[in-house]
Symmetry: none
Subunit: 212 residues, 4 copies
DNA sequence: TATGAATGAGCATTCATTCAT
DNA sequence: GATGAATGAATGCTCATTCAT
């Protein structure tokens, strides 16, 4: 199967193949419970070969984390570029695109989420990743700032507010993992809806006479 | 030192001792990274003896989870028994008592939270635990129902709402674990405050003229 | 096979058992080529158990090295305590006792020797071991110093001389390892004899008229 | 870049290139700790190509050993061809040329030395190499034989004597590897000097009246 | 009952060698 | 001839669990 010389593109493709095989394992089982054996078996790539493309297990995870970050960023960028009538709609759009990311790239979402916890979470120590996350949060902050300026959001530390909102939303999105416990069925859609509604309701000033 | 037969009370006392030694380890290091050797060392109880009181490592965790649930339940019960002037104050009280539980029994809080995720989370499969959680959620639901009746909360599936609120709040409370990442300092108090405010704001109908 | 509680003596005995099983493997195959599997198999002790008595493979080797050092030291001490008529006889006695150590504790000799070379040779970084070796060399230096005082050995830096002699002797003693290569039979005795003779001859001033 | 057929000379040149790249790695890190990857990287020759010129890792080492042997041989030959006034000077010259080899071809010296020990030491099983070493030793034996005939060296088995001398000298020369342990500085020159002196002193009959 | 020594399957990682191109 | 990607057996080490005392 060995080729004379792999181009950068082929190399990237192979890396992606390994990552594609790993993402589900890592997302569903977690970093700790995913073994190199499993990745080898699932990808059909020998263990030794895995180490040709990644220096160690953590590096696979980190690559997965970064890729997930890429995906999230571009998803939010798309949402940002959509013309929206007003600030409220803009915020709503961003929340919905976060849900979209969660729904259509659930493995990536869980990789990101799990990257914040646990001992494996090198994300915590990686300045580059940290800055990228902050950059994303800063982007989410923009419509909030605008909302404050427009007087539809109560003045506050907008960055802290964004972090709170992000945290609250993640809390809702992780409900399915949390709630085999509850008697919830599969209609999680309801919960996201509540989430959006409560958050919008919670941050927007309702007395419209006070608005400009 | 071995007694031929321990009374039920003595047995329970020993179990509790083991649990007291385990809770910090499990809460801070996580289930996976806590070893039976560590528990043995910290508790001063021989490894073999641990297996006399718990069939395996997971059972220690489960017991910890249950104990944490007890504590949470009684904390919320205390909050429920306090006389409150109105429904809003009642809800506020409950949220604050959840924060109190988080702050004063942080190990137990983290045990509960981590119990929902990962492979260790047998909580997910344990019907008894499931029912207890539902029971707690049902208790939290009461003031919400009352709020809907009083017209200060928009009509909705109140149980689903409670779950959403619970999820959002946990999201905020787990921020310190999440956010070496962010540039947050230690003033997490701010975030809880945001949480309470947004949630209350988000679920309560604000236009008071519409209320009865 | 597990005992209620192992006394310090039993523990030491077990350690010794593991070491006894390891010494031949390490002495003949070298540190690198001796595997924990082999030690486990030869000693009849499970791999996990090995790690109960030694933190890692290197620690087994270090213990072996130290034990060999003990043995060498006591061997030389015995030689030192034997009454000898004169300095020449004293030096001769020490050389012979070194040969005795080599012959009757060959594994230990080779452990010591190999400890000076290779990457494994933590001996090089261990100050304690370093000092013990220097102590031994200092003891060997004494009769040399006396010989210089008596005028039968040419004045020189006696410590440097001792090191040279030690090095030369080791060179001869390692001949059997070196010389499958040569057509030597098993009569290495000859070589030691040459060694002693050349060294004594080489350091002693022969013209007896020059002596006092 | 691939040619259909390389001349023998080109082949030899490539082999030499690989060997030149390997010698430092093997001499300083040892056979075991030198990897084919390292050799490939240092030489700029692909791993697969290495196996075109050498059947396996050991064969590279063996070639290095042989080359070192060539070098030693020619070094000693040069020394032998220098006109010397007497036998003592001749022996002295040979010892000094061995030191010269050690100093100016230290990698090769260490390759030779290490070839006698460890599992890598196929030198031990290779009859051809064995015979070459014996040939070198026989050459060194000549002045010794002459010395015996002249009565300046005590009659003995001269070949055994040569082996002993060789062993003793190697012992001294390997001191730098041995002696981070001792408090030696960098003045190893001293030790070689001791070595030559002791050996010459040790084998030569000093009472000149007995000589003719 | 209580102990803790013993176990060994399982893990991440390395590296000499092969072989399709 | 030349390449270097692919391989997988082997390594040192961990840790939940068992069991003789």
């Amino acid at each position: 199967m060995a080729r004379l010389c792999l181009t950068e593109a082929e190399k990237e493709q192979k890396k992606r193949h390994i990552m594609d095989s790993s993402v589900e394992l890592m997302a569903t089982q977690g970093y700790e419970h995913t073994t190199m054996q499993q990745i080898s078996k699932k990808s059909g790539v020998a263990i030794g070969t895995l180490y040709l493309y990644f220096n160690n297990k953590l590096e696979i995870y980190t690559a997965l984390f970064e890729e997930a970050l890429d995906l999230l960023e571009s998803t939010l960028n798309v949402a940002s570029s959509i013309p929206a009538t007003d600030t409220k709609a803009r915020i709503c759009l961003l929340l919905q695109s976060y849900i979209h990311f969660y729904q259509h790239h659930n493995h990536q979402y869980r990789i990101l989420f799990s990257g914040f916890f646990g001992k494996n979470a090198k994300a915590n120590e990686n300045v580059y990743l940290k800055n990228r996350i902050i950059k994303i949060l800063k982007q989410l902050e923009k419509p909030i700032i605008k909302g404050v300026e427009e007087g539809i959001i109560k003045p506050c530390d907008t960055f802290e507010l964004v972090i709170s909102l992000w945290a609250m939303f993640d809390g809702v999105l992780m409900l399915p993992q949390k709630t085999n416990i509850t008697s919830l069925g599969d209609q999680f859609q309801n919960y996201y809806t509540y989430g959006i509604e409560i958050i919008l309701n919670g941050i927007l000033i309702k007395d419209e006479s006070k608005q400009k």
